[in-house]
């Protein structure tokens, strides 16, 4: 195996693993805050959970960016072949 292949596999793993840390913490905080809000105000649960879903998707996008970068490194790397 070429060392360039090896480096790109390691780079993909590092990109996904470190890129997932921030969104994971952020999603945890967002869900905790939404749970708190629903517990205080159960009649607003519909609006809160709808906004929560959209917000979670926003946060999740950061992790998805890292995943896409990792896939680019693995499958569409300009330096290999």
């Amino acid at each position: 195996m070429n060392w360039l292949d090896l480096v790109s596999i390691i780079a993909a793993a590092v990109a996904v693993s470190f890129g997932a840390i921030g969104p994971a913490l952020a999603e945890g905080r967002a869900v905790a805050a939404a749970m708190d809000a629903i517990a205080r105000q159960p009649e607003a649960a519909g609006t809160i959970s709808r906004t929560l879903f959209v917000g979670l998707a926003m946060i999740e996008t950061m992790a998805i960016y890292c995943l896409v970068i990792a896939l680019l490194v693995l499958f569409a790397n300009p330096f290999i072949r």
Partner: protein
């Protein structure tokens, strides 16, 4: 392993290669159009079961748009409802064996996001006039013009990448688990994939709503939509 960025060519018409997601998209369009035609063929004031179900769907879409955009939903329900219906059926087409959802390929998502991009400009100009729409780029102050211009493009890009990443990673993970563990093991993952597909279709539509609502400028739109620009 096959690259998720390249689609398989099935056949080609002259110099134009027709890939697998394009074929699936055509099938979905035909199915949705046929369903809509059959459901609306005999509309009456006293609805039968099919028409009643359809009316529930349409009125839910209308109330959602009215709540999110704070404007009358009539001009927008056709585009946004079609977007939701198409993305939902495209994401859920993965449960048919042998079919990969067309939204798992970058080209389909790019086409959908470009539709939203053009629709935002069109509705913005229609609601405010050309000069009035251009003025929205200098909304808080004139200093924000470059940032607002950049945001117009990056939010389209993030629509593309969000849908593509979510759907494609689901297909990819199911493929990997299937090759490692074998038959019947990836079924819970596929169920999760259905949930993610529905949520992503909803989110894509809600974001399109927010962008259009911001361009059209319903009551108090800047405060409402600021948080969801990304």
């Amino acid at each position: 392993m096959r690259s998720p960025l390249v689609a398989k060519t099935v056949f080609s018409i002259g110099p134009v290669p027709i890939t697998e997601p394009v074929l699936v998209t055509w099938g979905l369009i035909a199915g949705l159009v046929l369903l809509a035609y059959l459901a609306t063929r005999r509309l009456s004031l006293r609805p039968g079961p099919a028409q009643a179900a359809l009316e529930v769907v349409v009125s839910t879409a209308q109330s959602h748009i009215a709540e999110t955009m704070r404007v009358a939903p009539a001009p927008y329900v056709a585009l946004l409802g079609t977007l939701f219906a198409f993305i939902l059926t495209a994401n859920w087409s993965t449960i048919v064996p042998g079919i990969e959802p067309p939204t798992a390929y970058l080209e389909t998502d790019a086409a959908l996001a470009v539709i939203v991009f053009v629709a935002v400009i069109y509705y913005g100009i229609r609601a405010r006039g050309f000069v009035g729409y251009l003025k929205t780029f200098a909304e808080p102050t004139a200093l924000m013009v470059p940032l607002n211009l950049i945001a117009t493009f990056t939010r389209t890009f993030s629509l593309i990448v969000r849908l593509f990443g979510n759907v494609m990673s689901g297909v990819f993970i199911v493929g990997i688990v299937l090759s490692l563990a074998g038959l019947l093991v990836p079924i819970p993952l596929m169920a999760l994939e259905l949930l993610i597909g529905a949520v992503q279709a909803y989110i894509f539509t809600v974001l399109a709503m927010v962008f259009v609502g911001q361009a059209v400028g319903g009551a108090g739109s800047p405060e409402r939509t600021q948080g969801s620009l990304s």
